[in-house]
Each structure stands twice: as structure tokens, then as C-alpha cells.
Symmetry: C2
Subunit: 192 residues, 2 copies
């Protein structure tokens, strides 16, 4: 590579500035000028790294979420609760929560972003669910593996609806705990 190399730390500084501004001022007020100023960086340096504001926010938020593989709790019921908890906490991050609707809108209007979102998030979640379901089949809790897409919708949907659509406070003991039993029953019912 010829020329001056990319300066170390700018990527992180910009992503951190995005997260801070999202938390402090929301998605609309989190402008590229403000991000660059906050990170002590020129706008050109930002656009050299990300093609658009949507890409930048996506990268910043993604980077702050670590989607962990689900633990094997020994029972399907326990695994369901663990998965729900992971989804809830990943969606409930402080700076993420308020930006989620706008970010989703951007993702849906940019095919490249949509593809990466499907691979980075939905695909990984789906893979984890398949593992969880296969363990349940091996234990004899399910007779066969149900359609993972349906399972994904059944588990992710209620958490998404609550945090994203309702603005209501989370119920006693957390969303995951409240939803684990009924959604476990839903998966069992799916097995018939």
C-alpha cells in the first residue's frame, strides 16, 4: 500500500461519538457534522470509512452489540428464557433503543444494508435457534425440528413488539421471564 496509512483509533473514536450522540440527542440530531466534531475528525475521514449515515450508525450500533451463542441450560424451557434474555438485552441497550426505529427504516431502504443485517443478525440468531432446537430434539422434548423461521418470529416478535412498538415499562421480573413459559408452550405446540 502506497500513501499515508489510515490513522489508528479514528474508527473507534467515530463509532463512540455516534453512540454518545445517539444517547444524548437521538437519531435526528446525531448529524455527521456533530459526529465528526465530537470525534475531533473531519467529515472526509468519516465518509472515507462509511458510505452513508445509515452505514455509520449501523456499524456503531452493531459494534456495541455482542450477540452471544446461547448457553445450553439443559432444558428447552431454560434455553428459551436464555434466548429471550439475550434478545431483550441486545435490543434494550440505552443508546440503541431510541435509535432502533430510524435505524430499521434506513436498513429497509438500503438493499446493501439489508443484506448485511440479514447475515449479521437474523442469520446468526437463526443459527443459534437451530442449535437450541436440535438439542431439544436430542433430549426428546421435541419430536422433530420445527420451522426455524416460525420459531424466530415467535420468540423475537413479542420482545420486539414490546420494546419497539409499545412504549410501556417492562413487566415485573423482566420481559424474558414473563414470556418464557408461554413461548415455550408455543414451541411445544408447534411440534404436533
Amino acid at each position: 500500500m502506497r500513501g499515508r496509512p489510515r490513522e489508528e483509533g479514528i474508527d473507534d473514536a467515530v463509532r463512540e461519538a455516534v453512540r454518545a450522540l445517539l444517547a444524548e440527542t437521538g437519531y435526528q440530531r446525531c448529524t455527521i457534522d456533530a459526529v465528526a466534531a465530537r470525534a475531533g475528525v473531519g467529515k472526509a475521514a468519516v465518509y472515507r470509512r462509511w458510505r452513508s449515515k445509515a452505514e455509520l450508525v449501523f456499524a456503531a450500533v452493531i459494534h456495541s452489540v455482542d450477540l452471544e451463542p446461547p448457553e445450553d441450560t439443559g432444558t428447552l424451557r431454560g434455553d428459551v428464557e436464555a434466548v429471550l434474555g439475550a434478545i431483550e438485552s441486545s435490543l434494550d441497550g440505552v443508546e440503541v433503543k431510541s435509535a432502533l426505529p430510524s435505524l430499521l427504516a434506513d436498513i429497509r431502504s438500503d438493499p446493501a444494508l439489508e443484506t448485511r443485517f440479514a447475515e449479521l443478525f437474523l442469520g446468526r440468531e437463526l443459527g443459534y435457534l437451530v442449535e437450541m432446537l436440535d438439542r431439544a430434539v436430542a433430549r426428546g422434548e421435541l419430536s422433530q425440528r420445527p420451522d426455524p423461521l416460525l420459531v424466530h418470529a415467535i420468540l423475537l416478535g413479542p420482545v420486539l413488539a414490546w420494546l419497539h412498538l409499545f412504549a410501556d415499562p417492562v413487566p415485573q421480573g423482566g420481559l424474558a421471564a414473563s414470556l418464557a413459559s408461554p413461548l415455550h408452550a408455543a414451541l411445544v405446540a408447534l411440534d404436533d
Copy 2:
């Protein structure tokens, strides 16, 4: 009332133009100038009726959705499928589907809109669910009425996730049919 009265038909013409442009060009390209031109109307006439683009799109989309009270099918299982079908078809309207993420983002960033959304949609849906649950209790299918907010999340969430988050084709026989059994089981499990 003094002065020239509002011209009849402009409200409808503008709302219809919004729906057409949403379907043809998506939310971003559906600009107020384009809407006014399409409706054969000046921009001032638009802003005399709606305070912002978000209000306008909200009104146009709302107006195209008729949220019907759920039928009493005689069983909770049947009622659940009917409710799921109603949610699915209301979310699956051609022009609504692609605009939904952006519209939701606008709603979430405008407190006045958020209130109206909660009243017009969430509140009405919640009321219908309470009726459905009370019928189930009267029939003895449930021992007591579960938390309607949880039920709302459990029923609406999976449909929302599928149509709004996944871009995947709907499963065999429709979403409502595929989800009715497992989600009915979830409600029954909620009763313990």
C-alpha cells in the same frame, strides 16, 4: 365561520396521492411537493390540513386501514386465528408495508403522533383482545384474564417481526394459520 370554506375532496385527493406515491416510489421519494402536484393542489393546502409529513402519511395510512372488531368464533383458538388474520391483513397492505418502518420511526420521534397512535391502534387492539379474553374466561377456557399487554405482544409480535423485520415470503397457508396453534397454546400456558 367566516371566509371561504375548505374545498371538498382535497383531503381525500391528497391522502390518495400519498398512498399512490408510497406504493410507487416509497417513503423517501414521496415528497410533499410530489404529493401536492399529484393531487393537483398547492403545498399550502396540504400544510393547512396536516402539521407535518409524518402527520400526513400517518393520516393517509390510517385511513386505509380498517381495524375491525374481532368476530366471536366460539373458541379461543378460533378467535386467536381471526385476530392474527386481522393483524396480518392490516399490516400487509400494499402501500403500507414498505412505508411502515419509516412511519414508525416518525411516530416514535413525535410525541403528539405517538399518543394518537397509541390511542387509535394499540388501544383499540388492546380493547378487542380484552373482549376476546373475557369470552374465553366465560367459556371456561381460561381461569382468569391474563395481562392484556402480554397477550398483545405475544400475538402482534410474531406477525410484526415476520412482515416488518424478515423480508421472507409468508409460509404455506398464511401467517395467521401457521401461528394460531402455537400462540393459542401460549395463551393457555399464560393461564397457569
